[in-house]
Symmetry: C2
Subunit: 111 residues, 2 copies
């Protein structure tokens, strides 16, 4: 059985544009909409095994892209660095810390 | 004639791990080592046209990856945001601005 993990959801977010439309549909139904493999198979008139194989292959592709591009691990590292910056806010005067908070929030949302 | 641009160099930095070894070799010789198409062709015993086609196809692939993942444009945007943060440094007390400068430099180098 495939494990529905947070990691796969993150990898999907980062690399979904590199997948085929069919891969995206199966991944969305399975991971985001939380349908079962059997339900997806029925919906698309294919075997449960076919859906399983497709989703498993897609997961392997996502891990392969992460091995090559490290977008998820770099993102995590950047978030840690931004959090360290946020810890400096209380030591600043109000005007500065307010401006810096806005910029740091924008930096996080930009991902 | 192919134009040796900064943009291609950046795209190559971001996406080189998605290229084949042969693509990487030609791109490195042409863009980083600044060899001519003719020199590369002679080195590898292929036609100048073959090298040209390979490099042009690789450039198209890099642009396609950028269309899908936007790593270069996101990087540029993040750099702008970090520069805005740096502009706040002079308004802080010395201890804080020093710590913040170290963190911002680390954030930039992390890319």
């Amino acid at each position: 059985m495939l494990e529905k993990t947070t990691r796969v959801n993150f990898l999907y977010d980062f690399y979904q544009t590199l997948l085929t439309e069919k891969q995206r549909i199966y991944m969305q139904l399975y991971y985001l909409d939380d349908l079962s493999l059997g339900e997806i198979a029925e919906e698309y008139g294919v075997s449960r095994q076919a859906v399983y194989d497709n989703v498993r292959r897609t997961e392997a592709m996502l891990e392969d892209y992460e091995d090559k591009l490290n977008l998820f691990s770099k993102f995590q590292k950047r978030m840690e660095m931004i959090e360290e910056l946020e810890q400096l806010l209380p030591t600043m005067n109000h005007g500065t810390s307010e401006k810096m908070q806005i910029l740091l929030t924008a930096l996080k949302d930009h991902e």
